[in-house]
Amino acid sequence: MEIYDFTLTELRNRLDRREFSAVEVADAYLVRIAATNPLINSYITVCAAAARSDAAAADLAIASGSAGPLTGLPIAVKDIFNTAGLRTTCASRILDGYVSPYDATAIARIKQQGAVMLGKLNMDEFAMGSSNENSAFGPVHNPWNLDRVPGGSSGGSAACVAGRQAGAALGTDTGGSIRQPAAHCSVVGLKPTYGRVSRYGVIAYASSLDQVGPLTRDVRDNALLLQAIAGYDPADSTSVNTPVPAYAKSLTGDIRGLKIGLPKEYFIDGLDADVQKAVTTAADTCRSLGAELIEVELPHTAYAVACYYLIATAEASSNLARYDGVRYGLRVKDATNLLDMYMRSRATGFGAEVKRRIMLGTYALSSGYYDAYYLKSQKVRTLIRQDFLTAFDKVDVLLTPVAPTPAFALGEKTDDPLQMYLSDIYTIPANLAGTCALSLPCGFSADGLPIGLQLIGKPFDEATLLRTAHAFEQATQWHKQKPAI
């Protein structure tokens, strides 16, 4: 057992008992990162000096008895979070040279609670992608099989946690970007309810869909990190001012009488046989733990991908209008006039997928097309959200696959954007509905690739989601498996 094999919970216990110091933990991780990053490419920026200095401060806090739940724990964050004094790239060339002048709220909260930040993680550019192949800093490789994608857009975050290159990570999820890579890398990834965690300082992709969430090795660690970041933030007027429960209290192991809904639209043709088997076996495990399985319907599921790729791209086209070369980032040197500066800075700085989504979104919002595309999608979104609210009248959580297949090969889907988009079918609906959802390991395919189980909860009921996930996890061994790397 190496230091980097311990969960956050185990590290907390051992640090408090002075079995080793926070500096030793940081050092162990920095060595591990140096050894494995050339293969995985999960880190864009490693903060070696700052991590050691944060760790030394953590050791003083521990020694003086003033340590909090996160003091000394090594965390890495998706390079979408602004981090004061440190470059933030969003995996794009358009932010070349950009050093954040402030911390995102989620970052400020974990720092204030004594976490040691190891670095900034690779991702699909501007969070647009499902494979972490759309990065200006090269693709991320799945630690379970380096020829495979880790998933995206929080591919670096999931690969980092799976590859034991950090104790845990923060990511963001707009259409599945925490849950899908978590499933492909066999880690636990949670997308909280929209408004549960502040988006202040998180580089925006689609403002009505984006959410910050933790990626961890087990459910207890996930509850710990969610506790640290959840809660109202006056700097984010979309954050909701409702109390944050003590999530660790939900980890009772007891799901007797829990009503679990299986939406029939999620178990159809196109679902890989190994995934189907792992997920239905997981449902049976929940039944054996005393839960009741009930078939439900989410009739508008088939329209979710179309709806998402109009709403998200429309919002992205607006959010990414700020990248114009005026105040920060890339500005072409020889522009003849202002318009030329905008057009060529943006064309030079943005990657192909980002351009594609900006174009789609601009079109969907443009005069003559707004009603047919954007407005229509917003109405369909109401129908999708209503499906969930109706289902939640009958059940407490929903159980589904996360992705139709295990991790695909690098380069396999890059020629066909629509194929790539269709693989988000199971994760997108929870973002459209605004509710919480979690992915956790539930098995492996015949060729050793991780399979994830998705649990979808009622809005602001992360407690039941975590309780269900924890009970399932503790009844299985999937969370104990590690890749060979």
């Binding site: 002048p101 007027s237 202002l338 030329d340 174009m359 109405k379």
Partner: protein, 95 residues
């Protein structure tokens, strides 16, 4: 064809993206396929359905009208590609 190359060029100007000829060709083909796919939304009757702009029920998220600290000019200019006299400097705007 759901979208023509001419329309794609028009959209690229709206989006302030100077696309190459190859990019315009590729995007025309991609956007055509995607718009063809999303057209299935028309199969749904959404008459009388209120659009969802915000997924959680929330209204009027106001704060008190009191000044709060923000960036100093130095902080605001810290990433400027070109700055002068406490401002971002760009190409001439008015001739």
């Amino acid at each position: 064809m759901k979208i023509s190359r001419t329309e794609v060029e028009h959209v690229s100007r709206l989006a302030r993206l100077a696309l190459t000829s190859q990019e315009l060709d590729a995007l025309t083909s991609d956007m055509d396929a995607i718009l063809d796919y999303v057209a299935q939304l028309n199969a749904l009757d959404t008459e009388g359905i209120v659009p969802t702009a915000h997924a959680v029920p929330m209204e009027n998220a106001f704060r008190e009208d009191e000044p709060r600290p923000g960036f100093t000019p130095e902080q605001a200019l810290s990433n400027a590609p070109d700055a002068a006299e406490s401002a971002f400097r760009v190409r001439r705007i008015i001739d």
